[in-house]
Symmetry: C2
Subunit: 316 residues, 2 copies
């Protein structure tokens, strides 16, 4: 379930006027902007952008960029974007990091539905005049490239039908490769990048049944090995996206280098309209502390108010 609290009745034109009013004058009234955009779903935000453009012949996101600053600006602009454009933007940003942020790319490739991934790839082409595949291929190398290009390229079958024969034979193939530590062997990448999620989950289950251990336990855990870490992420995103996000959130708030604000806000922005309520519950169960409290301690100012609003926390 979602955490976003959005009214059923709203007027895009009134919202556009109120946002413009909040931007006029010397200071910007961030609270008003949060109270509006922090409580509108993606369709409503789209209508507000359209209304804003019709009334003022200005792009709302450009306006927000010029009025806001820091993490809050980035979060609010990403939020206001159409979710598909947001994913394309996040993927591009992830690719331009050194080294590229594989996690973000894997989340988009493996957690979004095949149809959603497709619309993200289409949006990527029209935003950057390149395909996502070619940018992934030209910005990564070696095994990680093979894995990531496979992941972002494939249009998987999205149905529930599975083939038990395939589960058995491919559980065995995966086990052989894991046993021989041939993680970069093409069979593993072929299976993980082309099979449907339902089929892969059946294969993972069969793996556990035959070999008495999960496939992820079978894989070595070595945080310094980028490829192995990416493999773990792929399997985690296909097996249990919510558990994956809980882990990302915990890591983002528990780093020795301080809070990873990007990771924190990515999860909140991309899941607030989808399953953030379930992720919050799982987070509480796993960490004995509420995500709202962690976010309240880890952030401050307008960014804090905004993220808490998206978390469905109305008390801030």
């Amino acid at each position: 379930m979602a955490t976003l609290i959005a009214p059923e009745d709203f007027s895009a034109a009134e919202d556009a006027l109120d946002i413009k009013k909040a931007c006029l004058g010397l200071g910007t009234d961030e609270k008003v902007i949060i109270s509006i955009l922090g409580h509108r779903n993606s369709f409503q935000r789209k209508l507000i952008r359209q209304a804003y453009h019709e009334i003022y012949q200005e792009d709302l996101i450009k306006q927000l960029k010029s009025e806001l600053s820091g993490h809050f600006e980035e979060a609010m602009c990403h939020w206001t974007l159409d979710p598909v454009d947001r994913d394309a933007t996040l993927a591009n940003k992830a690719l331009h990091r050194t080294p590229p942020d594989c996690r973000v790319l894997i989340e988009i490739a493996c957690i979004r539905s095949p149809e959603d991934l497709l619309t993200v790839k289409r949006a990527y082409c029209s935003l950057y005049n390149h395909s996502l595949e070619e940018d992934v291929a030209s910005r990564t190398t070696g095994d990680i490239r093979k894995l990531l290009v496979g992941m972002v390229s494939c249009y998987r079958f999205d149905g529930e039908e599975i083939d038990e024969g395939v589960s058995v034979s491919e559980a065995n193939i995966l086990h052989d490769e894991i046993k021989e530590k041939a993680y970069n062997h093409e069979e593993m990448i072929r299976i993980l990048s082309t099979r449907s999620k339902a089929q892969l989950n059946a294969t993972f289950k069969r793996y556990r049944y035959i070999y008495g251990t999960s496939i992820r336990k079978g894989l070595m855990c070595d945080p310094t090995n980028e490829y192995l870490t990416a493999l773990h992420t792929v399997i985690e995103c296909i097996q249990d996206p919510k558990k994956h996000y809980v882990k990302v959130l915990r890591n983002a708030t528990n780093t020795a280098q301080g809070i990873d604000k990007d990771a924190l806000s990515h999860v909140i922005l991309t899941r607030a309209e989808k399953d953030l309520k379930d992720i919050k519950e799982l987070y509480l169960k796993k960490n004995k502390v509420s995500l709202d409290d962690v976010v309240a301690r880890a952030t401050f100012g307008d960014n804090k108010s905004f993220l808490l609003a998206l978390l469905g926390n109305e008390e801030n």
Copy 2:
């Protein structure tokens, strides 16, 4: 330009009634079926199928399958299918040959637009409960698998914008790999499977400019090497689809094993509504004989009449 001659005014219901009438009784009146379906574009055929289903609660294609036979049955059924379903069906059939027919898969992956390829992949999933990618991956091996999975997976950028810097650097990469005969090196597959067609054509042009010879001349020609043949086909389909089809047609009618009727009708069926007129002109120029004459000699009976109708030849 297309060769198909279809009337602007038509009635789907009348066509459906006339086809049913042609199917009733002891013999089927194939001429009537050809005179109708051989002169309707894909949208009109779709409406006829719908009308047929509404009136008779029967699928027109099932009806045609039970009434017709041989090559004519297959050609007429493929023609009556929605073009996207036809491509998905042809891809599946190509994959089930031993060895798989790479040419058909490469044509679909490299000649169709990125958006069309996408709709074919969507149709493939819904027809076969598998993705095209996973079937290609599980029915091929080695280098040919890497190449074909790359080709069918990618959603290329479809714009005309190119980067001259990329053309130069990737022409050099391709040349190095060709020089070292490292045709299966991942850089070549990466470039051919992810770059836009406009970018690839700029790279091929730059290759010729720098090295004084075309990339295809640089590649060895060895018809017994399946991978090398597939590479040639990929480059040919990206560079000049019409020239490619002329070659396919010439090979289909010039084999020592007799006429390759599948290849012949594939080209006619898939291009009749697109550019078959240009292909015919190029065929005549290259072979000094008209495609209509060759088809008339190579086929007979209803299949001949049907293919000639699609070729825009009204005299048969």
